[in-house]
């Protein structure tokens, strides 16, 4: 259970986030929407203490995250950055890196076990021993998600996990994320731009405008009025074969 209370952040005198309040239940997938530059990534970084928020709290299971050390935060929150660097490291070792916050001086049998389990769960056996600089974008993204999973976190934050991926990989990755959230009761917060995909996979939405939450709730909050106000673009919201679709008009 993640609770964000009154979270605020400034770059110098420029206020990026004003006072953001929201909560995510275990197993719930929340998508943060909003135009470029409204502070979506900043919000994720503040939640994870990668950026020190200027105001407010982040509570995980009732514990104030900002009073904890980095390792302790990493045991509770997994973070999948927008970009992962590659190198001559096997996918297995890249995932094993997720055990970092829990490693003592050495890798223990337990660490290897959980990595093996996660590799199997995500169907990565075939590429586990390949160097990550030989992987495709979608495969690399799965490795990054697996790395966050072996942290055994209660919450996973993902910064635009589907950018730079083709349609099949986008669907694949979002299926994976949603599956994990439901199966393991992990709260997931992710940012993305594709509202139609978000409508398929999200339980709840957080729409950010000028550093503030403009709207918050289930799929019902995605209305033509909200989208037009936030993105400055007139749209229709239609149902087609059971899917809600946002279609730009004019």
């Amino acid at each position: 259970m993640l609770e964000v209370q009154n979270l605020g952040f400034d770059y110098g005198t420029r206020e990026i986030l004003k006072a953001v309040d929201f909560g995510v239940l275990p197993g719930e997938v929340t998508v943060v929407l909003g135009p470029n530059g409204v502070g979506k990534s900043t919000l994720l970084r503040c939640i994870n203490s990668i950026l020190k928020p200027k105001r407010g709290f982040v509570m995980v299971q009732g514990e104030n995250l900002h009073t904890l050390g980095r390792d302790e935060i990493a045991k509770r929150l997994g973070y999948v950055a927008q970009r992962s660097e590659t190198g001559m490291l096997t996918a297995f070792d890249a995932i094993l890196l997720g055990r970092k916050p829990r490693l003592g001086w050495s890798v223990k049998a337990r660490d290897r076990e959980i990595v093996e389990e996660t590799v199997k769960m995500l169907g990565l056996e075939e590429l586990a021993l390949r160097y990550i600089d030989q992987l495709s974008g979608g495969e690399l993204q799965k490795v990054a998600i697996a790395r966050a999973l072996v942290q055994e976190p209660e919450i996973i934050l993902l910064d635009e996990p589907t950018s730079n991926l083709d349609l099949k990989n986008q669907v694949d990755i979002l299926d994976t994320i949603r599956g994990i959230a439901k199966a393991q009761g992990i709260s997931v917060v992710l940012t993305m731009h594709d509202i139609n995909l978000a409508l398929r996979y999200a339980d709840s939405f957080l729409i950010i405008r000028n550093g503030e939450i403009y709207a918050r709730g289930g799929p019902e909050i995605i209305t033509p009025e909200v989208i037009e106000t936030v993105y400055g673009l007139p749209v229709m919201v239609e149902s087609f074969k059971g899917f809600r679709l946002v279609i730009p008009v004019g």
């Binding site: 970084r45 994870n48 990668i50 299971q61 050390g69 980095r70 390792d71 302790e72 935060i73 990493a74 045991k75 929150l77 997994g78 973070y79 999948v80 950055a81 927008q82 970009r83 992962s84 660097e85 190198g87 001559m88 490291l89 096997t90 297995f92 070792d93 890249a94 890196l97 997720g98 970092k100 916050p101 490693l103 290897r112 959980i114 093996e116 389990e117 996660t118 590799v119 199997k120 769960m121 056996e125 586990a128 021993l129 160097y131 600089d133 990054a144 790395r147 966050a148 942290q151 055994e152 209660e154 910064d159 199966a183 393991q184 009761g185």
Partner: protein, 371 residues
């Protein structure tokens, strides 16, 4: 929470996947085993090269005699040659090679730049400037010939101390800029380039006003040579290199995390700025000591980590030890070759490493840096 999750995972994996999982797991064990084999073979090779290096020279001593002397037997003349000349020289080559290479490997990781090395950050150039300053301005560099073994500075300690002070000054400038501008890889490498040109300019300026004896002393100093160190110098260098090696190794998971990107590393609980700053400080310290005592030995810190990468990949758990071994092997091998090539003249090892380093570097460049 953790336990319930794990139980769930185990349950999901109980059926059918067991066999496939075992083969995949043993494949990984074999893969790790290969890396250990490389490290083991390198250690073996280093021991053999070490014995060979002590055996060869103007007065030939057999490898068995070397072993006997090292085990404490008294073989008269051979004892003096081995204990006083060849052993400190060979050990200095190994320790300096290890130090420069491990400093390079860690800098390449924490600066996330394949060009990271003590040389690139301007530390070596600063030391060379310090030596020039000491010889020309402080007059520490009148030379005298010692007959058999090339030439020596008449006051090596002042030269060494000033060289050390200047390389540490550079380190502090680098750290101050890192603190002020953030220790991003770009900022650090560009600062290194700027400082290198500044100190090179300073050295040229001093050399222009030097007389021919001073000029010769400065040039002599700048040829890195492991034969310059006696047991005392070796002890000082080792006292810095060995703990630093341990420090870098204890940080191998932090460096693996930083290799995955700053944000990912922070998400994994790594204090990236702190690790980067300390890593730079330790790497600079190691380089400063080595360069101050031995002179500038280029390319070892740059090339050895890349050679090691070809064998063990980027995983710092293996890359750091492998770099240490390859560094020791390369510098000891080069020094042995430098002693043999133009017998009875002994070439400073830096000339040879530069000759070998450049083609190696170009080869790696053409094959593509993988970092």
């Amino acid at each position: 929470m953790d336990q319930t999750k794990t139980a769930g995972m185990n349950k999901a994996n109980e059926s059918g996947l067991k066999l496939a999982g075992d083969t995949f797991s043993s494949a990984y064990s074999r893969y790790i085993g290969r890396k250990f084999t490389f490290i083991f073979l390198s250690i073996l090779l280093l021991i053999l090269l070490f014995l060979h290096s002590i055996a060869v020279g103007a007065a030939d001593v057999s490898v068995t005699d070397v072993a006997r002397v090292l085990l404490g037997e008294d073989l008269g003349n051979s004892n003096t040659i081995i204990w006083q000349i060849r052993l400190p020289r060979a050990l200095t080559a190994i320790v300096a090679g290890v130090g420069l290479s491990v400093a390079g490997a860690s800098l390449q990781s924490i600066l996330r730049n394949p060009l990271g090395s003590p040389y690139t950050l301007g530390i070596s150039h600063a030391a060379a400037f310090g030596a020039a300053f000491s010889v020309i301005v402080l007059g520490s560099g009148t030379m005298r010939s010692t007959g058999a073994d090339a030439v020596m500075l008449n006051n090596p300690y002042i030269t060494t101390t000033v060289a050390f002070l200047f390389s540490m000054l550079t380190t502090f400038i680098l750290l101050a800029i890192a603190k002020y501008k953030g220790a991003s890889p770009e900022v650090m490498i560009l600062t290194g380039v700027a400082l290198s040109s500044l100190f090179t300019a300073g050295t040229m300026f001093l050399q222009y006003f030097a007389d021919d004896v001073q000029l010769a002393a400065v040039v002599f100093w700048s040829f890195g040579d492991v034969g310059r160190a006696d047991w005392g110098d070796l002890a000082i260098i080792s006292a810095v290199v060995l703990p630093s090696m341990l420090y870098f190794y204890l940080n191998c998971w932090n460096y693996n995390a930083i290799d995955a990107g700053d944000e990912t590393a922070k998400g994994l609980g790594v204090d990236v700025e702190k690790i980067r700053l300390w890593g730079m400080l330790v790497a600079s310290l190691v380089t400063s000591f080595i360069v101050a005592f031995l002179g500038v030995i280029g390319f070892v810190g740059l090339v050895c980590p890349h050679i090691s990468r070809r064998f063990v990949g980027d995983d710092q758990r293996f890359l750091l030890p492998a770099s240490c071994l390859v560094g020791g092997l390369l510098l000891l091998g080069s020094d042995t070759a430098a002693r043999m090539l133009m017998e009875p003249h002994v070439l400073p090892v830096a000339i040879l490493t530069a000759f070998m380093g450049a083609p190696l570097f170009l080869y790696l460049l053409v094959r593509g840096f993988r970092h």
